[in-house]
Structure formats: C-alpha cells, structure tokens
C-alpha cells in the first residue's frame, strides 16, 4: 500500500510570446488530469511548487488561481468533506519532492484521495535576465493511494549552508533617478538572480554526499537503485553526480532537451521521461534526486513493492 504516481507531465513554453507561469501550470494540470481520465473535482489538495512568475504576485497563493482556472470544486462551500485545498510551497528545485512528501502523508492518513502538484517558472520581467539558468516551463503530477503498490516509501532532505550564497535570488527595489515625469513610476522591483561559478559542480558533490547518506540509512547503496530520476538536468550536474554515484547511464531518466533548462519543473520533466520510456514501471527501486539553492538536496525513494516482500 502506498502513494503512487498516477500521471506526470511537463511542457516547455515553445511558441508562447509572453509565457505566463499561471498558464503553463494550468495547461500542465489540465493535460495531466485528461491523461489520467480524472475530473478536476477529484483533486483534494493542489500544491504549486513553482517559484518565478511574471508578476511576482505575493498573494493569494498562485495555487488558488490555478484551482479556479482548472475548475476544481468551484461553487458552494464543500460541505461533507470534499473540496479542494490549494497552497504554494517554495523550496526551489527541491519543491516537488517536498510537496510529494506532504501529499504522500495526507494520502497515507486518508485525509485525501488524490493529490496534485503543479510547477511553473517564467522570468518575472518577461525577459530572461542574464545568468538565469532556467527556461520557462510547467509541469503537473497526480498522486493517489494504491493498495497494491509500495509507492513513495522514504524521503530525505539535507542542506549545506556553507554554500548558501552560491545561488541567490530576490526582488530588489531600483528607484528612478532625476525628475519624475508625470505618470511614470518611481521605480521597480527587479528580480535579481545570482549564480556563482562552480555552483553546478558543488551541487553535484552535495547531491552525491546526501544520496549516499540517505541510501545508507535505508540499508541500501547506489547499486540497489534501478532508476535515477534526477534534477536539474544540466550536464555539469547530472554527469558528475551519476559518475560519482557510479550509476550507469542506462539507469538514468534523462530529461528531453527541450526541458533540460526547467527549474522547479525539473523533477516532473525527468519523471515524465521515466514514465514514457516504461522504465518507471519496471524499476523496483527508483531514486528521485533534486538539488538546488541552499544548497539543498531532496530525495525520495519510489518502490514497486514494499521492502522485504517477495518478488
């Protein structure tokens, strides 16, 4: 018995002149629900784990707008226990795994029957700032309880505060100087993203260290992993972490090129590749690994059968 992936899909913003984080997440969520043959009203909890949006809206949670857009339990207050609860979660590139952990728990305790996670990022100023290491993309996944599968069994998160300055981002106010013409704004809050040289390499080193510790605590090692679902998909990170963990290339779910620069959508994009190739269904032990600012490394173990059960 466990929380299992019902569907997962990601999309890049090809052809969209001005990509919108909300629209990318909406589209990904609708496609995911359609693929799974689900109605939006089936979603009990909707977590948005995206970070960068075109307007940097502070409230409400973007998840509430996405819930409205996809039409999940709109109308009367949900008397009788069934409605949709939406909120945003931010943990950079690791946000999806944090959200999976929460939804797995709510599924396990029977509070919900279907959980949705959406992601999306665009540049807040609608142009890509110099140094922004990711592309506009959106993703969605559905989690449900399955009595016949183990699903997500273990989670880990480790942070390396000594490297917290290697990747930082935030809004910074820049006032306009000189005489202020009529109707012109006094200034603007600009999104500033600063990625220091060597960040990707350090990310890989931290990911390897955290993954080894996580597996050791479970009585496993990298050789027990049939499939690695990693994010980000940058070669500087992925190649290094794969080699250092000694996981052969044929045991890695490679994100398609058009999504290789995805940020918070990265884990869903890799998951989609694993599902499409059929390897997620064949793998006994799948390790989801995400690494991002902090440096933060998040890990999740996804099993077809419970540990110790007969194959």
């Amino acid at each position: 018995m466990g929380a299992c992936i019902e569907a997962a899909g990601a999309l890049a913003s090809h052809g969209l002149r001005k990509p919108s984080a909300r629209h990318l997440a909406d589209t990904a969520a609708r496609r995911c629900l359609a693929f799974a043959g689900r109605d939006a009203d089936d979603v009990d909890v909707l977590i948005n784990a995206g970070v960068y949006r075109e307007d940097s809206m502070g409230e409400p949670a973007l998840a509430a707008l996405i819930q409205e857009d996809i039409g999940a339990n709109l109308g009367q207050p949900p008397i009788g226990g069934h409605g949709t609860f939406s909120f945003d979660l931010a943990n950079g590139a690791c946000g999806v795994i944090s959200a999976i952990r929460l939804e797995t728990g709510l599924l396990r305790s029977g509070v919900i029957r279907l959980g949705a996670i959406v992601t999306s990022d665009v540049d807040p100023n609608l142009t890509r700032p110099p140094g922004a290491p990711f592309q506009p993309a959106g993703g969605a996944m559905l989690l449900r309880w399955d009595d016949g599968a183990a699903g997500f069994t273990d989670f880990g998160q480790e942070t390396f505060p000594e490297y917290e300055d290697l990747f930082v981002s935030g809004l910074v106010w820049r006032g306009r100087h000189g005489i202020r013409p009529l109707r012109r704004t006094a200034g603007k809050n600009h999104m500033v993203i600063d990625m220091k040289p060597g960040y990707q390499t350090r990310l890989a080193d931290c990911a390897e260290e955290a993954a080894r510790r996580f597996l050791r605590q479970l009585g496993m090692d990298a050789g027990d992993i049939d499939l690695l679902v990693p994010a980000p998909a940058w070669p500087e990170f992925l190649d290094r972490v794969r080699v250092r963990l000694d996981i052969p290339g044929d045991r890695v779910a490679y994100t398609p090129e058009d999504l290789a620069g995805a940020h918070t959508t990265g884990p869903i994009a890799a998951l989609q590749a694993a599902i499409k190739s059929g390897r997620l269904g064949e793998s006994r032990n799948t390790l989801m690994l995400a690494a991002g600012a902090g440096i933060t490394v998040a890990l999740a173990l996804y099993r077809q059968t419970p540990p110790g059960s007969r194959m």
């Binding site: 809206m57 949670a61 339990n73 931010a90 950079g92 305790s109 998160q157 933060t296």
Partner: protein, 340 residues
C-alpha cells in the same frame, strides 16, 4: 507559541497624517485599530521570524536540535539587501540561525492562512509518527504596504484601504506529539473557495520598495460570512460539540467591526455563540499570517487560557482560504512563560 514584536509603534492617527491626499477616512473608528508595531532599522521578515522562533523554543521543552521540520510561512520575505528573498527559501536561513540545521525545511505561501496551513501539515506528520516535533514560523514585515498605500489612497472606497490596517510581527509555533491521553488538536481542516481567488491581490510595488495590495473588502467579508458559517458548523459537529462549547474563538484579525459582525452572523445562523471572541487588532492591527498565533500567545502569556479550555482558530485569507482548528488547552498553559 512564541512571538517577536518590533518595539516601534505607529498610531493610526500618525499613519493617517502621512497620507499624501486628504482622505477624511476615520480609520480607527472603522477598524478599531489604535496602533500597530512597525519594523525599525535592521528589522526584516527574517529577524522577526528568528526572534519568534527563539521565543517559541524558550517557551517549550525542546531544543532547536529537536525540530525535525521547519516551515516558514511569511508572505513577506525581506532579508537584508533584497526586498524579497526567493532562493534559498527563508526557512533555510531561519533554521540555520536558530541552530536547527538538521530539520527538513521549506517555505509555504498561503496568504494570511499560512501559519495554520503549516500547523495542518505538521499535525498530519506528527500524528502518523513520521516526525515527533516540527515548527511553523512567520516573520511579517508588511507595514511597507501601508506606507505605499498612504501615497495613493484618496477615499474610503480605495482598494488599498485594507493595507492601512497592517502591522509587523513574528510568530512561531511548535507542533509535537501529545502524551497518550492528553489533550490536543481535535479537528483541523482547510478549503479553498477558488472562485473568489481574485478578491485580494498583492504585487511588488512600483511606487516604493515592498508591495501593494488591492482588496475588494466588502465582497470578501460578505463571501467569508456566507461561506464560513456552514464550514464552522461542520467543524464543530465533527468535534462533537456545539459552538457554545468553544471557550475562545480566535478569528483572523482584520478589524474589530468585521469580527463583531462576523461572529454575530455565526451566532444567528448557528443558534449559539462562543463564550469569548478574541480581538487584539486595537494594539497590533492586522499582522497577516501571524494574527492567530499572536493572539494565542497574548492569551497564554496573560494566563487567560487554562487547562481544559477549548479554543477555535479561524483563518481567513486571500484565495479565499478558510481554515479552522479546534483544540483543547493542555496543562502547559497553566505554567506558560515559566518553562525553560
């Protein structure tokens, strides 16, 4: 529960004297807010959150090393140079500052319902035994919305009027497994009425650092009263009690008038009313995601809550998010402030 309040106070009359246009708005009479705390030099969302987290630990039997998960739920995320920090998440800086480096962490954004949302999630993890102790923390340096609104507001009908009610505060709460047989959280739940998601929107400002918020206050309160009443009825029914069994109802603190009107309507619709309704906006204003726990802390500190009291926390936030928790106060309340 712990809090961190800035020492600097701003009265409503002083705030209204700073408006750029002559408004004739009698804000104190309308809202009941006499003053609010505002962040001083060097104070940010981060420092308020850290101060609250430390105060929370000082009121508990836990060390920072016991915290297995830390959730930061601030709407505002100021930390030094940038007006809003995005990555790494604020929770990372907070856990490192208090010495809880081993805790899993993430930020959660659910407007003014953020802290109760965090408690809802931790309660699930703790109840199932996945963790034994977690912390929800929020530091709100949100008074810059008031300053920005003061530059533009012209009349009572401005959509930025609600921004003038805001005050700064930090709050933190530890959720832990209650000993067998002890009192705890009876009911906790949330829902999002997303068809009303655009009634209150906040964006980065283009007139000064920070943000601006636009609220259709009257519609928001009408919808809240209409839709919240049946949800409250359902929650108290699930707890197996009546509204009159609630000793203290702590609603989201927006304005004294809105709270009075809302609770009177609940009483009319549900045929009962709680014994006490907690209102503290007169001294703190609306401190956004921290209001419920700021009020809870005040009542604990003043020894007004005693073992066995039944408390209902009622969150209302942009989204529209409606959340509630009913819990019974444990024996710790009788010694609150004397535990270290």
């Amino acid at each position: 529960v712990g809090v961190k309040l800035p020492s600097q106070r701003l009265t409503t009359s002083d705030l209204m004297s700073q408006t750029r246009h002559q408004t004739r708005i009698q804000l104190e009479r309308l809202t009941g807010i006499h003053e609010r705390r505002v962040a001083g030099p060097g104070e940010t969302s981060f420092t308020l959150a850290v101060g609250a987290a430390r105060d929370c630990l000082a009121h508990s039997r836990h060390q920072a090393a016991d915290i297995e998960m830390l959730i930061s739920t601030s709407i505002t995320r100021s930390r030094g140079g940038s007006s809003q920090s995005f990555e790494p998440p604020l929770s990372l800086y907070i856990k490192n500052a208090i010495g809880a480096g081993q805790a899993a962490n993430f930020d959660l954004s659910n407007a003014c319902a953020g802290m109760l949302t965090g408690v809802f999630l931790l309660q699930d993890l703790v109840t199932r035994g996945e963790i034994s102790c977690g912390m929800v923390v929020s530091g709100e340096y949100i008074s810059h919305l008031s300053h920005n609104a003061a530059q533009q507001i012209r009349s009572l009908f401005s959509k930025q009027l609600a921004s003038l009610t805001l005050g700064d505060a930090g709050a933190a709460v530890i959720v832990e497994q209650a000993p067998r047989g002890a009192d705890g959280i009876d009911v906790i739940g949330f829902t999002t009425l997303a068809e009303h998601s655009r009634l209150c929107l906040a964006f980065p400002s283009n007139i000064g650092p920070g943000a601006q918020m636009y609220t259709k206050s009257r519609t928001l309160h009408r919808v809240a009263i209409e839709d919240m009443a049946p949800l409250v009825a359902e929650a108290i029914s699930e707890a197996g009690i009546d509204l009159s069994d609630i000793d203290y109802l702590i609603p989201h603190q927006t304005s004294a008038r809105a709270i009075r009107k809302g609770t009177a309507e609940f009483a009319r619709r549900l045929g009962a009313k709680p014994k006490h309704v907690v209102v503290n906006v007169e001294e703190y204003g609306n401190t956004s995601s921290t209001t419920l726990f700021l009020a809870l802390h005040k009542y604990l500190r003043e020894q007004r809550l005693r073992k066995g009291d039944r408390v209902m926390l009622l969150a209302l936030a942009s989204g529209i998010e409606i959340g509630m928790a009913i819990f019974t106060v444990g024996s710790e309340a009788d010694n609150y402030g004397r535990m270290h």
